[in-house]
Amino acid sequence: MRQLELERPTKIKRKFGMTLREKRIKRVAYLFVLPAVLFFLAMNAYPLVTVLWDSFQYKNLMNKALSGWAGLANYTEVIHNEYFRKALWNTVVWTVLSVAGEYVLGLISAFALNQKIKGRTVFRAIIIVPWVVPIVVAGLTWTWMLTPDYGIINLWLVKLHILDEPVYWLGELDTALLTVVFVNIWRSFPFFTISLLAGLQSVSRDIVEAAAIDGAGVRKRFFYIVLPQLKTVSLTMIFIHVIWTAINFDFIWVMTEGGPLYSSETLPIMIYRYAMQDYNFGNASALASLMLGFMMACFVIYYMMTVKKNRR
């Protein structure tokens, strides 16, 4: 919904200087965005500036003796943290797998819901359910269902002979992160479903039918006609969700707190630890600034790529 407005050429371009009317319109435009700007300044810009400023300061609540300008000390300290790379990698894995899974499930469910079948409304309602369950509640419930000794999932898997013995999904080094990803997909894919369904419903039937008459098979029609029409909405959804997933904190914290032994620790978890467990706001701010930097870099790269493509 949002990412492409930047490269779209402005609707009316006037080469000559601003007319009186144009000036007036400009005033209206700025007045219209004013409330949002005020909110933004007080609640986003101010904290953001604080974070950037603090990242160059020694600021540790536990050690007030050490304060003042730190230069890049916080940054080097954070980067040399034993688990920094691990957390960075986990963030990438967490984000990529979550968003990929959400997209695939969203696409399949949207297609299924787009078929003309009975009970469509009921299914559509059911699929929205995960999205409205509060994260804390969902996290606690899943954690319980996944435990080895009194969790229903393990019990069933063992009864069905899919597993020989219960697995502690959230307690093993190699399954913890993937399990949280699985639950995160469960929670977030309905948003994809709705958006993609909306996109599908606006796919022109005429074109699809015309292609069918020309002899294009189901698969061909899907890949060459339907998917390209979903491109915009897909890209938008993926873009938003990459951001949201990368900065997501609640799910991992509720389910594993980043453990066992940092195997599901992502950058936001690490930021939280620095801030609320070590009270080292300097380090926390530096890590947050780094993360912001990474994401902005990705954003710029993405932006350049789309602009280039559009020019071609």
Binding site: M1, L4, E5, K11, I12, K26, V28, A29, Y30, F32, V33, P35, A36, F39, M43, N44, A45, Y46, P47, L48, V51, L105, A112, Q115, T121, F123, A125, I126, I127, I128, V129, P130, V132, V133, P134, V136, V137, L140, T141, M145, Y150, I152, W186, L197, G199, S202, V208, A212, V218, T232, L235, I243, W244, F249, L267, I271, A275, A288, M291, L292
Partner: protein, 281 residues
């Protein structure tokens, strides 16, 4: 005919199978919540968990409704989420309109990028600075603190949603109205908004849901039960050394159900509303 009859039947069956699979996946934890809330304590945490309830009880619902402040929390959440929705909608209608129609001005464009960037700040990091802001405004422990915070969080996405809806409305419609002497605000409210009603519903649902489910700020900004919201309220059943699972699940069910019902009724608008914006992106 696009596909042969046999293929059509196969496709229908496949669709049902897929949808049933999704239903199980989506409902499984929710059903578990419902079942747990109806079980007596002795059946909740056992070595042999099952969906079967041998002696169903409404004890936990009774406990939640009569012995806890659940209804207060519910009322608070309802109020905060509603005001947040109205506020973010009003703000984002104007901002979205400006972004859609006046994107040519550098200031407006810059602001849209800034809003996008603001989405990249991890919420954890805002906790302490925002607490300070609220304290300086004397708003700690008020509904206003949460309304302000939630509005800030929802405005960017609502704005982008509204922008894309406005994008999909041909500018000619406005031009004719303008000739008829409508003011700009008049145009928005009399001409554009009625056309994009489904989109408005979709956007408000989104804002409402966000405010309804938020946890961390709700807990940190609010100090007393009279102002506490639902999600932090529910988590109070997670006690010190043991969790009252029955009541926790009962209260979760009670807090999720109204939203589910709301969505079921409004889902037609939801998809329609998104359709309007989706094509244009």
């Amino acid at each position: 005919m696009l596909i042969s009859r046999g293929k059509q039947r196969f496709l229908t069956i496949l669709t049902y199978v897929v949808l049933l699979g999704f239903s199980v996946y989506c409902l499984f934890p929710f059903l578990w919540m419902v079942v747990t809330s109806l079980k007596p304590d002795a059946e909740i945490r056992t070595v042999d968990p099952s969906f079967w309830i041998s002696t169903p009880t409404f004890k936990h619902f009774d406990n939640v409704l009569n012995n806890s402040k659940f209804l207060t929390f519910f009322k608070n959440s309802l109020m905060i989420a509603s005001i947040t929705t109205v506020a973010s909608l009003l703000i984002s209608i104007f901002t979205g309109y400006a972004l859609s129609r006046y994107g040519r001005f550098r200031g407006v464009k810059l602001f849209s990028v800034a809003m996008l960037l603001s989405q990249m700040i991890p919420g954890v990091l805002l906790l302490i600075p925002l607490y300070l802001v609220m304290k300086n405004l004397g708003l700690i422990n008020t509904y206003a603190s949460l309304i302000l915070a939630y509005t800030t969080f929802t405005v960017p996405l609502c704005t982008f949603m509204m922008k894309s809806f406005f994008d999909s409305i041909p500018i000619e419609m406005e031009e004719s109205a303008e000739i008829d002497g409508c003011t700009r605000v008049g145009i928005i409210f009399r001409i554009l908004l009625p056309v994009s009603l489904p989109s408005l519903v979709a956007t408000s649902l989104f804002a409402f849901l966000n405010a309804w489910n938020e946890f961390m700020f709700g807990f940190v900004f609010i100090n007393d039960e009279a102002h506490r919201t639902l999600t932090p309220g529910i988590s109070l059943f997670k006690g010190l050394y043991q969790t009252d699972w029955g009541s926790l699940m009962a209260s979760s069910v009670l807090s999720v159900l109204p939203i589910v019902i709301l969505f079921v009724f409004l889902q037609k608008f939801l998809v329609e509303g998104m359709t309007a914006g989706a094509v244009k992106g």
